[in-house]
Amino acid sequence: MPSQPSRRLRYAFAGAGAALTAIIVAYMALDLWKSHNDAIGEAARNTRNLLRVVESRVSGVVNIVDLTLTSIDRSLGQVPRRGAEIDEFLRRRLELVPYARLLFTTDAEGRIDHDSGNFTAMRLNVGQRDYFRVQRDAPVAGSYIGAPVLGMATHTWLIPVSRRLETAAGGFAGVLVAVVDPRHFQEFFSSIDVGGHGSVSLYLRDGTLLARGPEIENLIGRPIADAPLFKGALPLAESGTSRAESEIDRVRRIFSYSTFAGGRLVALVGAGESEVLSGWHRQAGTQFIVLLVFVGTVAWFTVLLARQIVRQQVLTRQLLDSEARLAGIVSSAMDGIVTVDDAQRIVEFNPSAEQMFGRAAAEVKGQALDILIPERFRAVHRDHLRAFGTHGTTSRRMGALSAITGRRANGEEFPIEASISKLEARGRKFYTVILRDITERQRAEDELHRYLGQLKVLHDVDMAILAAHSPGAIASTSLQHLRRILPYWGATVRVIDDEANAAILLAYEREPTAAFDPRPRRPLEEYGAADLAEMKQGRERAVQDISAMPERPVSIERLYARGMRSYARVPLVVEGALVGVLNIVSDETGYFTADRVEIARAVADHLAIALQQALLRERVERQSEELERRVAERTAQLEEANRELEAFSYSVSHDLRAPLRHIDGFSKLLAAEVGNANGTVARYLDIISRSAARMGALIDDLLAFSRMSRAQLHTARVDLSQLVAEVREECLRDAQGRDIEWRFGALPAVAADARLLRLALVNLIANAVKFTSRRKHASIEIDACAGEGDEVIVRIADNGAGFDMRFADKLFGVFQRLHREDEFEGTGIGLATVRRILHRHGGRIWVESEPDRGTTFYFTLRRAVEDIREDQGNPAGR
């Protein structure tokens, strides 16, 4: 957006352009006006000249007619003639006047009495004619040109020129009239070239048209007395030039007029204004176009010029701004900026440079650059700069960054990073050097290098710690690495053993020649309560000069004697607990600067954590070993118990059964021996037998039950519906002839040990068969539904004897029975076995029952894995 000044400048340009245009327009207008006037003036002159010709010709005709009439009048008076003689005379005279058509005379009454033609006989009377009345009543001297009349015989317009005839006494005797044909004038007028729109005309003074060229029909005799010519111009001047619109044909003309023939006639010559001005119009048109072109050009150039100037102005301003900014940058730059000319004298010296070199700009300007450089580098630097000037390219910015050395006013030398660029201005070379004092940076870099070194050692310590396994190894490795950055005379790592109330030496390192020999164990009380508190707070202590200690503890005194002069003690504290202490001793006084203590601190921090973890690990390992030992012990005990149990089971199985068999066998043999014994003996023998059999069954069930717990589980996919069908067949063998209605729902495949599951089902189904034995119509239902996740809930319901739910908790115990032996036989182990089998499968079993109504068992199993997948693939299934 242009600023205020540039806008003003534009207005100025526009004004100047407009003024120039106005002057030119004015000049051209003046020129046009003049040429217009010239054209008009020339036309006026032409018409005046023509008018003079016209006037002289018409005057000539009028004079001849007048002379003719005068001579006729005189002749008639002098020579008396009669009748035809006069007619003949008139005829002869008429031949002398070619303009006239007729000559006649009238008597005092107006009757034509003689004529050059043969009208007399027609007895025409002109007594009413205007000219007759003028000659009779108010005679004029000489001939009188009358208003045109329509010829009575010819019926054409004629101009009557009359003369009064008087009697000898001077009375009115009639008129002599020469009838002039206006066509004579018309022909003459038409022969005059006045242009297409020009005209020549002749009027009576009263405005009656006598003739006109070019000829216009029916105009002769028409009065135009109202025209401006007659109303305006003629009353003022008898002759003149004027411009007006014609009353006759409405054409604007420039015309000249004059009155003659004794004020009786007016001649007029006009030139068509359009014709007169046509040249001027052309000129004006041309000039207008020229003007337009000129004005356009001027405007265009004005705009261009204005724009250019505005641009120039903006550029100038930008340049100034830029210069100001640059000056601002230079003066506020953090870097020192020094410009030298090709003689290597200082031209510019910014505030930063002043500060850097400790010299004022005023002081150094004009001086050689050398004063900023230590003497030993001056020659080299001069050559370098010269070489740069010669070989360097002309680019503004080709700075090569290089480190050089500068010299302050106080002689101090300092490192500089400099970039140099060359500039050529008006044939002179300038070099701009940008300087940065890198003292601080170098120090920071050195610091960083040192710090990185420390970090590396710390990292090495960490790696070593990671690689080491025991606290001793960790401590020893840390001390070794610490020596690389902190060469000490000797160092120890002690671990605080609260139980032993001592700091136990974990590791120590020393200079090969040092007589440093720390004690393996240092009682805590030796530190003193104050020192211990300080250590627990994690504060390190550095003693720079042991010889200056007012009172040396025994332990320090011992090492002092061996060469120790200073020491640093860094407690190893982790999460507020004092784990141990790192001691570093030196044989130099003042060895432990803040930096060195800092390094020791850093190593100690890492060491502390690692040490604590190693100690913890050691403890955990110890505990886990203890645990393993106990587990092994317990396992051995359990195995022993198991073996004993197995041996017991085996004995029961084998040895307990044999006597039973013998009891039964020999009682049978006895029965056979006794033969047909009487009733009592036989019954006793029978009881013995049955008791033995029952004992055998008990033993079998008990063994099976105990086996359940120990047998390995062989889980596989088991088709529950098939298994149930098989078990049912088996159970039905003991229920021949009974009316049992079986109802099976869909039963899924389950993941189970087939043999154990079969045993469980046998128990449950046999139970159902057994407890419905008193029912005339028994009903047993077996079905399953989905439980949580892959759980299957199987239901076995009967309409058997049932039981009181108060005793439900006893149902699954070993040897627990809810019915008397003589009601339903059984060992009371079956359901205990069932429950154990289901538990071993990770399942549950529960029961709902009501006396005399029946019992329903529910138990859960896991669905077979493949079936779970199938179900997931087909959620609508089952």
Binding site: S653, H654, A658, H662, G665, F666, L669, M695
Partner: protein, 146 residues
């Protein structure tokens, strides 16, 4: 051929008597030699000790109890199966043990049958009777290895 007989190995005198009673029913008892423990059985089979003079013919069947003093049934079985001359002798375990462990071990060592002595006399009687009949009458014994 039947004179080759049965070797009954059982430490229980009662069981022996009951077994013999059962076998006696079909007059099979006369061909039964009884060994009262494993060692005696081995003596018989290998014709050692008091059986050193017995004819060199193998029994058509060994009825073997498992749990016996000194040398137990499984040991006897192992020896029999390890011996070229004896390994084809049919061996039936006749025991009170229903232990799975025993059954598996016995079959692993190559028994021909495993019979649990039923507690009820009738069943025991039937079992022994059937065993005797099957092995001595119905079964064709392996040819003698010379």
């Amino acid at each position: 051929m039947k004179t080759k007989g049965i070797l009954l190995v059982d430490d229980s005198a009662n069981d022996v008597e009951l077994t013999l009673a059962a076998l006696g029913k079909h007059h099979l008892a006369n061909d039964v030699t009884v060994a009262r423990d494993g060692e005696e059985a081995l003596d018989y089979l290998f014709r050692r000790g008091r059986f050193a003079d017995r004819p060199a013919t193998n029994p058509v069947l060994v009825m073997l109890d498992l749990k016996m003093p000194k040398v137990d049934g499984l040991e006897v079985l192992r020896r029999v199966r390890a011996d070229e001359a004896l390994k084809l002798i049919p061996v039936v375990i006749l025991t009170s043990s229903r232990e799975e462990r025993d059954i598996i071990k016995s079959y692993t060592l190559g028994i021909n049958a495993y019979v649990v002595k039923p507690v009820e006399f009738e069943k025991f009687f039937d079992a022994v009777e059937e065993l005797g009949l099957f092995w001595m009458v119905i079964n064709e014994p392996p040819p003698a290895v010379s």
